[in-house]
Subunit: 167 residues, 2 copies
DNA sequence: CACTTATTGCAAGTCATTTGCAGTAAGCAA
DNA sequence: TTGCTTACTGCAAATGACTTGCAATAAGTG
């Protein structure tokens, strides 16, 4: 459960899959990259270790990992077309997205469980998961004098990220 | 403010734009479609009134409307690549997404303002907006015996939607 | 009713992601 | 260790969702 490499290997095994060098590489790259990298970023990083790795292999692996629930794919609105991937359950955390630089900060908010459950009852639906996305300007962009300009759906100029624990 | 047609016309005017038949058609189609239609769905619906309408015009108009803050674009994760559009501010409401049929139910939850403000302070960022997406099974899919199967990121089989007021 | 130029339709182009296919290599069996 | 089966990979071509260039239209102005 804690070691993704082993977890993935076991899951593969149990469904007649094979643990290949590429999958191992993608997994460890995913572990080494903090933040929410895109498939392309994972590819470029992994390529440093093995230049023969192919982008479609990255996509295929990411897709399998998502289906297994080992990584959670995210799609933020705005100019960014690329999906982002992150180790762990989608439910485990929420995000702040800087509309100027694309930086993502994670946080967890237990109070949302209560809100989700409440709306599940009110709407007569079964709520299996939830994601809260906060949008705005990070400290760096704010002090750099950036202003949000487009009604809340910002153009991302560059990308960076950091991870912040639950408070 | 209340009449989108007029609001849009005024905004266009003030920036040297022109109110065309196409834009009027797209606007009224947007008003007639409840839920969160995709560009394609808006296009198909509008085409019923004027078959000569072009898809790129729909995209262009939707992009302008988004920039003006008159419609809010949404992107839900999962198999859906297409963006969805909705009249009104992104901030005004949140969504429940049925991972089985794609149905979207809106709701508003004032408590989230407080949570957003709290994290703005804690993370030292300026929060301009937020979106909460609840994922799960709607009543219809649940009673139809559908089970979520893929770790929370469902494949959408068909699309439908309804709107629910604030409670 | 001219006339300027924003806007449209159409076709071609992007970009992110997927897929068909033939060659490669896990993992099991002998 | 060697074979063997077939899952997996790399590569190239395809797809889906938009976006863009351009010449033809048509708002809104004088």
């Amino acid at each position: 459960m804690v070691d993704i490499q082993n977890d993935a290997a076991e899951r593969l095994h149990s469904q007649g899959g094979r643990m290949t060098a590429q999958r191992r590489l993608i997994l460890s790259t995913l572990e080494s990259l903090s933040g929410h990298p895109t498939a392309e970023q994972i590819y470029e990083q992994a390529r440093l270790s093995d230049p023969r790795l192919n982008l479609s292999t990255v996509y295929r692996t990411l897709r399998w990992l998502s289906a297994e629930g080992l990584v959670s794919p995210q799609r933020f609105e705005g100019q960014q077309r690329q999906g982002r991937f992150d180790l762990g359950q989608a439910e485990a955390h929420h995000h702040f997205l800087c509309v100027s630089c694309g930086r993502v900060i994670e946080f967890s908010e237990p109070a949302l469980e209560v809100i989700g459950a409440k709306w599940g009852r009110r709407l007569h639906v079964r709520v299996d998961g939830m994601t809260l996305v906060l949008r705005g300007l990070c400290e760096a962009c704010r002090s750099a004098g950036v202003q949000a300009t487009d009604g809340g759906h910002g153009e991302v100029v560059s990308t960076a990220s950091m991870r912040v624990g639950s408070v």
